[in-house]
Amino acid sequence: MRKRFISTLGLALMLGGRLWAQSAYPDQSALTKRLQQINAQHKNLTSLQSIGKTSTGKDLWVLSVGQGDARKKPAVVIIANVEGWHLAGTELSLQTAEKLLAQASTDSVSKLLASKTFYFIPSLNPDAAAQFFAKLKYERSGNARITDDDRDGRTNEDGPDDLNGDGFITQIRIEDPEGNYRLSKGDSRVLVKADPSKGEQGRYLVYTEGIDNDKDGEFNEDGEGGIQLNKNFTFDYEPFKPGAGDYPVSEPENRALIDWLYENKNVYALITFGMSNNLTEPNKFDPAKANQRIIKGWQAKDIAINEYVSKLYTGTGLTDAPTLAPGKGDLPTWAYYHFGKFSFSTPGWWMPKDTTKAATRPATMPASRPGAMPGRGTAPAASEEEVTILKWAATNNIPAFVEWKEIKHPDFPNQKVEVGGMLPFVKWNPPVAMLTPVADKHASFLLSFAKAMPEIEIVHVKTENLSGGLNRITVDVHNKGLMPTHSEIGNRVKYEDRLKVIATPAKNQKIISGRTHQLVRTAIAGNGVEQMTWLVSGTGNFEIEASAGPTGSAKVNVTLK
């Protein structure tokens, strides 16, 4: 602890005492303490549970927010930091929970807390997140499993090396006639890939900061960590790719999550803070992908809901998040395609658009994913985008760049090698203070989302006395929510907890037509109705109950005379 304090302090001084001193993101022990505090402060509204442990023994926390028995109410799950380096997600999810609880006494919020459950999972990948707080800081996605990322039979043999001893992994650039990078015109500190088709000539080789420790020609391709959880879920999984592992759901973290989700039949939807975005840019319907045997596109009705939820989201002022395409084997796509739930994702916080306007990133391309760093020997995403990040950082007085400084490098004994470049974490993890207004907006989005969730009532209860003591009972099972009882993809999913309608006749009653147990297989749309009818003989109380985990339940009693 003491060591870390000293090194952090040293760093803070060196960097002008801003980023690291200010950021105050919670590490695992601070996160645990904060969750315990929240839980202690709101005993009647929260409960805290560990759903599993990482391989180093860190708890995977779930904070349940709501009144009464959490599992008996429809729930939305908010998951953060699957990536590991996305500390802003962790902080945002915590603050969002805190904001909800702070408003608990207001009428509308208290009503929602009484009828819905909010599950917050602020950090699914705490072992990777720990690199943010370690002596050597870099954006790490891999958990603590020891892996052979480059599949050469050696594990963790070529991680990054802190050549300038500043505690950060940035980049190295080597002046080289074979170089494929040039200096940016917008900011001469930034390196950009030279485009030979435009007659551009490269002058530099660029790698992440380090040495080719195993002499295989690649730099830092097999460092500490691990399996990247967001490459290890079952949808569109790619085996043997770096970070993806040998088979999907191989990790204690994602196994614990999936097992827990399957046990909690009340889960209606998932919202992930991470590196994909269908909240400011809803999915688009692609009939070919939506209808093939292995479905790879959102179903039409789910697209409509996505558009609606996106409006709820942008309506809070959360607009213009960058385009971020989902990754292969990631959590949000698994949650939709394989778990069958509505799955929304957002980076939560992003640099405001006006400062990123100058970015030349093509609209169709996903933004650079810093999580991939330290990369596979090639340089991390160095592009004109960095210029705008640096502008934004400068405007906000955030240290973001390590000036290039010449060093001696054993792999390039006779060449000019410099260490420098963008600091890790800058783009997606702003000073914590910047997250507060964003957390407010997410809290109000969550509330409006919860309000729109399905809710079952039984209406238009009609009894017709036919003749000879025979009664026809007709009811409408009505979804008074704005969203369907489950997703359209959920219509196909075996383990979806569907709406069950159970009729319980009195002892001397007999059902002549109709069933005691009925399952509504297809989702009931928002403000939709499923009509049910029974022919019953005999007098007394006839009970009808409709229930499902994700929708709640409703009950009526009909008295037959």
């Binding site: 050469d152 039979g153 085996p239 040998d246 999936i258 069958g340 999913v493 075996k494 069950k500």
Partner: protein
């Protein structure tokens, strides 16, 4: 029996005495008594014309270990859902100087689908055949010296017991016994079959009805056949024996299990709505998980077979057409050689890929072994209707439409033992019905008298496949002085079997570690491996023949990393060393080719 006492003491003298005793006993037997192919004087007596429950199987395995402590060992690799041990029986020559993990090993499992019983007995037969023949058969002796076998006779013991002890059909449970709400009504396993006539079998329910479109077959009235248009029917079918236990209007719709353990594996895994039978995610069931964890710890497994029924097929991957791209020519040639030989070994059995020959399977065991782990694997679909009368039946193998063969076979060869005669029953929901039909051990599981025959042919195919796992040898080690105190050592390493140390898919994806070939005790300056043989390996029409060319490995040049030692092929390696050594010492450490060490003297070799 007296031999067991000797085995308690493991001294060399006793072992010698023992083998002497075995030879003597063998000599006592007149040559004309022993049928060829049957192990002489088996120490473990097993009846191979019947099926065994969990206890019975364990007893056979324990007796094998007791009778052959140097050839067999038994371990539990995990627990089933209901807490039964999952056993793996290792068969290898444990006195060969190498532990089983340093030999290429062959995995065999059976009974993943619990109703497919014979996989277990056939796996046990193969293990028994190997152990009982070791003393007398030179081929088996060499095989067990070079290779190891891992037999997991049942990888679904819970449901096997359910099949044996509880009323079932020929097709159930298939699944494991994990309680699952199949019909989504919130109740679990609440509407199983009901053994209405209490005979331990779930047969069929039929009802006389003027609207039925079936009638008794005049040739064999036990059988119902469809009536012709215009003809009056007699019966209607009401499905398998059972009641609507939960009053939902459906019969037998929520039985124990009803997922598929063979859709729980991590290659191209798909959820239940795409691949029926899938559970939560790969290895979300305890039995496949235990096997996966064990296989991950045994990268020496180079070949495998999984015993299923039925259809008489040797199935290779892939389970789905989109994975055909992962089976390139080199790998398919290996499968073709093995599969086509198998077709010869078991008459009428056919060889093909799962999705082309059977149906599409996502998340199946074969694909995970083959692609996920780089192991050459088959699924053996044992038993085929060909075996009724040793001819190809007219009816479709899997969808038996009016096919009289099972009735004829039962009548002529089993004298009615496979059939429960139709008997009247008062059904609470259907009224007056009749219950009857084939017993659960018929149509899919072998009749007793064919079980041993087919078990032997199948074991022989397993042994054939296992023998084709890599056999690595160090050959032709030569040296050449280079001057300036340097010497060049060149070694040829061969693989004299069909299966390479790495499948082509494995090489491309680096599934397993490379083969490490180390020159020991020398001061290595540079290490090289042949990247191109003489003539360029091009055969006809290629570029002009070239001389051998070599590629250097800069890191750890003494320990060369070789991507593959091809089947029926070789690799050539070269080290430049300081000085002029008179001896050489080479170790080949190949995950799927085993550990091979060799040493020699240059002068003598000359």
């Amino acid at each position: 029996m007296t031999q067991h006492i000797h085995h308690m003491k493991k001294t060399l003298t006793l072992a010698l005495l023992l083998s002497g005793a075995a030879v003597m006993a063998q000599q006592k037997e007149p040559a004309g008594i022993r049928a060829v192919g049957t192990p002489p004087n088996p120490k473990v007596q097993v009846a191979w014309n019947r099926y065994y429950d969990y206890k019975g199987m364990l007893d056979i395995m324990q007796r094998m270990v007791k009778a052959h402590p140097n050839l067999a060992k038994l371990e539990s690799i995990g627990k089933s859902q209901q807490g039964r041990d999952l056993y793996v029986l290792t068969i290898t020559d444990m006195k060969s100087g190498k532990p089983d993990t340093q030999k290429p090993a062959f995995w065999t499992d059976g009974n993943i689908h619990s109703n497919e019983l014979q996989g277990s007995e056939m796996a046990l037969y193969a293990a028994w055949y190997l152990t009982e023949n070791h003393a007398s058969n030179a081929f088996i002796k060499e095989l067990l010296r070079d290779k190891a076998f891992y037999f997991a006779p049942t990888i679904n013991p819970d449901a096997r017991e359910d099949f044996i002890y509880n009323a079932n059909t020929a097709n159930t449970p298939r699944s494991g016994m994990l309680p699952i709400d199949d019909d989504g009504d919130g109740l679990v396993d609440e509407d199983n079959f009901d053994d209405l006539d209490g005979d331990g079998e779930i047969t069929m329910m039929r009802r006389k009805s003027p609207y039925g479109r079936l009638k008794a077959n005049p040739e064999d009235p036990r059988m119902l056949i469809p009536v012709k248009p215009g003809e009056q029917g007699e019966y209607e079918m009401l499905g398998y024996e059972g009641l609507d236990n939960d009053g939902d209007g459906l019969i037998n719709e929520d039985r124990p299990g009803s997922y598929d353990p063979n859709r729980d594996w991590a290659w191209n895994w798909q959820p239940d709505y795409i691949q029926g039978g899938a559970y939560k995610y790969p290895f979300s069931l305890p039995e496949p998980r235990a096997i996966m964890e064990w296989v991950m710890k045994h990268p020496n497994i180079a070949g495998a077979q999984s015993y299923h029924n039925f259809g008489g097929i040797f199935l290779r991957g892939p389970g789905a057409a989109e994975d055909d791209i992962h089976y390139d020519r080199e790998d398919v040639q290996v499968y073709d050689y093995l599969g086509q030989t198998g077709e010869k070994m078991i008459p009428s059995y056919k060889y093909g890929s799962i999705h082309k020959t059977l149906y599409t399977v996502y998340g199946g065991e074969i694909d995970w072994f083959a692609l996920g782990r780089g192991i050459f694997m088959f699924s053996n679909e044992l038993w085929t209707s060909y075996l009724y009368f040793n001819k190809k039946g007219e009816a479709n193998e899997l969808r038996a439409t009016p096919n009289t063969e099972p009735y004829d076979f039962d009548r002529l060869l089993l004298h009615g033992d496979a059939f429960v005669e139709w008997k009247p029953f008062k059904h609470p929901q259907y009224g007056d019905i009749e219950i009857g039909g084939f017993k659960k051990n018929y149509v899919r599981n072998h009749p007793g008298f064919i079980l041993e025959t087919d078990g032997h042919r199948n074991a022989a195919f397993t042994i054939f496949h296992a023998n084709q796992m890599p056999k690595i040898e160090v050959k032709e080690v030569e040296k050449q002085e280079l001057g300036n105190g340097l010497t060049q050592i060149t070694a040829t390493i061969t693989n004299s079997r069909v299966i390479p140390t790495h499948s082509s898919f494995d090489v491309k994806n680096k599934v397993n570690l490379p083969d490490y070939i180390t020159l020991k005790g020398a001061q290595v300056v540079s290490g090289l491996q042949m990247s191109n043989p003489d003539g360029g390996g091009s055969g006809f029409g290629g570029p002009s023949p070239a001389f051998e060319s070599y590629k250097e490995q800069k890191l750890n040049p003494d320990k060369l990393e070789v991507a593959n030692i091809p089947g029926m092929g070789y690799v050539r390696l070269r080290w430049i060393v300081k000085g002029n050594p008179s001896n050489w010492n080479i170790e080949v450490n190949s995950q799927k080719g085993g550990v091979t060490t060799a040493s020699g003297n240059f002068e003598k070799k000359k």
